[in-house]
């Protein structure tokens, strides 16, 4: 992925801001389109014999705050099971939040019903992970893409069919494919159909839930570039959920790093990738494969163990069980998500003992797994 091309912050993206009462400026410039504060989603666990009762919760998302400005792309990264997708589904209101608040263009949409959501349905759309499951195999491309218009009773000038053909052309498909069925397309083409469907209602915000992770690497680039073109040309804000750091870096101006249902660090692209402060961000970045295998200029951090269970998360800082800097304070006091001295505005970190803002190699690699450490040591001794 060509990172250098897009590393500069595209400042010209924010188009017409939301007109009706946007509530202040977001961190990335432009008007705040979506504001999420203290968002929680607990999935209840039922147990017990005969009489079912609630024995606990899976705290998939546990107090998440972020905002997205109009036309901006916020990347959300984290390992599997950290609550990224749940956050996306909460924002699109496919799931009912347990707590917190979601504000879209100044309107509180946290607990709106389907009917009440109708006016903003057309403005928040979603692109799904699995292009094979996200298109109804019994409908033609035409009816899949025009369904959102049908549901919301939108009649574009020239008719829906003309609009669908336009959309197919925008996403790089042949408009003549109108009458074809999903099974006649490849994975990349299907994902393009998914993008066309998401664009059908002229949305202002698209939640892309790992839109390329189910695709071939060669196709990933095409689809990401398509999304980027859509974002820039149509000025659509994105909540881009992914676990591929390179793709998020390519696509998003701001990045949020999630760990076990919480955002541990959020900031603009350069801050997160060049000057990370949270130990988890350091570990995550060091785990991403580098295109140049001889490049030894980066730090190496090997975490041990698994992510703790979201049913019973650790007290205080959730990362402390795997952190090499953890102290007593981390267990008792939960670190707030704040701007740490030396960070640029908008770069927030939730850590009591932040790391140095650099990703260059340390004197000694951090290897927490004793077995792995022994292997590495042995490997170093043998010439």
């Amino acid at each position: 992925m060509s990172e250098q091309v897009t590393l500069d912050q595209p400042e010209d993206t924010a188009p017409e801001p939301a007109k009706d009462g946007a509530s202040g400026a977001g961190a990335g410039g432009g008007e705040t389109l979506l504001e999420v504060s203290g968002l929680q989603k607990y999935f209840p666990i039922h147990g017990g014999f005969i009489v079912k009762r609630r024995v606990g919760d899976v705290r998939a998302v546990d107090g998440v705050d972020f905002s997205i400005a109009a036309g901006e792309s916020l990347g959300m990264v984290g390992e599997s099971g950290c609550g990224k997708s749940t956050t996306g589904r909460l924002v699109t209101r496919l799931l009912e939040p347990t707590g917190g608040k979601i504000t879209y263009a100044g309107q509180d949409i946290t607990h709106r019903s389907r009917k009440e959501l109708a006016p903003i349905r057309s403005e928040i759309q979603m692109i799904f992970q699995d292009p094979y499951a996200s298109l109804n195999p019994r409908q033609t491309v035409g009816s899949i893409v025009s369904a959102p218009m049908e549901i919301n009773d939108i009649n574009p000038s020239g008719g829906r069919e003309k609009r669908v053909r336009e959309l197919l052309e925008i996403v790089g498909l042949n408009p003549e494919h109108y009458n074809r069925f999903p099974h006649e397309f490849s994975g990349g083409q299907r994902q393009r159909i998914g993008v066309a469907r998401a664009l059908a209602l002229d949305p202002k915000l698209i939640v892309a839930d790992e839109p390329v992770s189910a695709l071939d690497v060669s196709i990933q680039a095409q689809v990401v570039n398509l999304l980027q073109r859509v974002q820039k040309e149509l000025g659509i804000a994105f909540l881009f959920i992914a676990h591929d750091l390179a793709i998020v870096r390519h696509f998003s101006q701001r990045i949020a790093v999630m760990y076990l249902g919480k955002i541990v660090e959020i900031g603009d692209r350069a801050s997160i990738y060049e000057r990370p402060r949270h130990p988890y961000t350091h570990a995550l970045l060091s785990a991403a494969p580098e295109a140049d295998p001889d490049d030894d200029g980066r730090e190496r951090i090997r975490l041990a163990g698994d992510v703790p269970s979201p049913i019973n998360p650790p007290s205080g800082c959730r990362f402390r069980t795997r952190c090499w800097k953890a102290q007593d304070k981390c267990a008792t006091e939960e670190p707030p998500l704040v701007q740490i001295g030396g960070n640029v505005a908008g770069h927030l970190t939730a850590c009591h003992f932040p790391e140095e803002p650099t990703i260059t190699a340390r004197k000694e690699d951090i290897v927490l797994d004793p077995a792995l450490a022994a292997i590495e040591e042995a490997a170093e001794e043998t010439p």
Partner: protein, 343 residues
């Protein structure tokens, strides 16, 4: 659904016969861009299944015979109620046909019935009509209710699913044949008072009723399982994000995907109901004489099989052909609709 590679190979191998999908939406597109609906693909696969085609012809033949029974009667010049054997003196003093082979002749193609002396061919044609109509009514009712039940159960989920599921388990736990035999007289007595003459519609109605009562659960469970897996699919979420109502999701997203299951299950259910109806009539709790009926013919045949085996022959062979053809047709339809099924 088809995997893309499969679909691609299908499409490739099928393009040499462009006339096949002419009814499709590819009216103005170039042949290269002709989209084939899953239904068209299924039809193409079905056409290559020789057994399926033969069975379909047989089944259609039976249905045509049943539908055209009065026409056949007019052409043949006999009906199912006249006692030709007694009137024309074709029965001996024991009530058996005088002529060999059950009285087969140019006049009576399949012979004549022992005792009453009705024409066997007409009896069979009208018997098929009675049995098929009852079985068809049961199938339509059972499929309708079963699909509705399964859809509700699968789509709503949770507690509703649990209680509806237990109810359908409860219905499934009845021993079917025993219940039919025990309950049919009770049901009939609900409609007919003591000593009153029974109207013609009571028996068919009761037969349809009791069979439907214990017949809808299997398809309900199938549909529930399908809906459970379908409703978690992302295309349903996509519809929900666009603001689609539950009704629209069921109608546009879920139902089209379970049609094939419904179709296959119905074609497998119908012959079961036909045999069940015949069985009940045979046991004497179904249709009563003199109404011509498949099961009643077996009953008469069983009484006289020692002296007149021919009478058992025609309804027996017809029933075997019908049930086998219908079952094989169901298999073929399933194979055609689901290309992943390999036998």
């Amino acid at each position: 659904m088809t995997s893309p590679s499969q679909a691609a190979t299908n499409a490739d191998s099928l393009t040499p016969e462009p006339a096949a999908g002419s009814g499709g939406p590819d009216a103005k597109g170039t042949p290269a861009l002709a989209g084939r609906t899953p239904r068209q693909l299924a039809w193409l696969r079905f056409k290559r299944d020789r057994v399926g085609i033969i069975c379909a012809i047989v089944v259609v033949f039976f249905i045509l015979v049943a539908a055209a029974a009065p026409l056949i009667s007019a052409l043949y010049g006999k009906n199912a109620y006249d006692l030709y054997g007694q009137d024309d003196g074709l029965l001996n003093s024991y009530g058996l046909p005088i002529a060999p082979n059950g009285g087969i002749s140019g006049q009576h193609w399949f012979g004549i019935e022992p005792q009453l002396g009705r024409d066997v061919f007409m009896l069979l044609v009208y018997g098929i009509r009675t049995s098929l109509l009852i079985a068809l009514a049961v199938t339509v009712l059972a499929v309708g209710v079963g699909v509705l039940f399964g859809l509700t159960q699968g789509y709503l989920g949770g507690r509703t699913d649990y209680f509806m599921g237990r109810f359908s388990d409860f219905m499934l736990s009845f021993p079917q044949q025993l219940f039919f035999i025990a309950f049919s007289p009770v049901a009939i007595s609900l409609f007919v008072g003591v000593g009153d003459p029974e109207s013609w519609w009571v028996r068919p109605l009761v037969l349809i009723g009791v069979q439907f009562l214990l017949g809808w659960m299997s398809i309900g469970r199938l549909v529930r399982a399908q809906v459970l897996s379908l409703r978690e699919r992302e295309f349903v979420e996509a519809a929900r994000i666009s603001g689609a109502s539950s009704w629209r999701i069921i109608r546009k997203e879920l139902l089209p995907n379970i049609w094939s299951t419904i179709l296959v299950q119905s074609t497998l259910m119908l012959p079961v109901f036909v045999t069940a109806e015949a069985g009940l009539s045979f046991l004497g709790v179904g249709i009563l004489p003199p109404t011509p009926d498949w099961g009643l013919m077996f009953q008469t045949g069983a009484t006289f099989y020692k002296s007149d085996i021919t009478f058992m022959f025609f309804p027996g062979i017809a029933m075997v052909i019908f049930v086998v053809a219908f079952n094989l047709l169901g298999d073929s339809v399933r194979d055609a609709l689901d290309p992943k099924t390999l036998r």
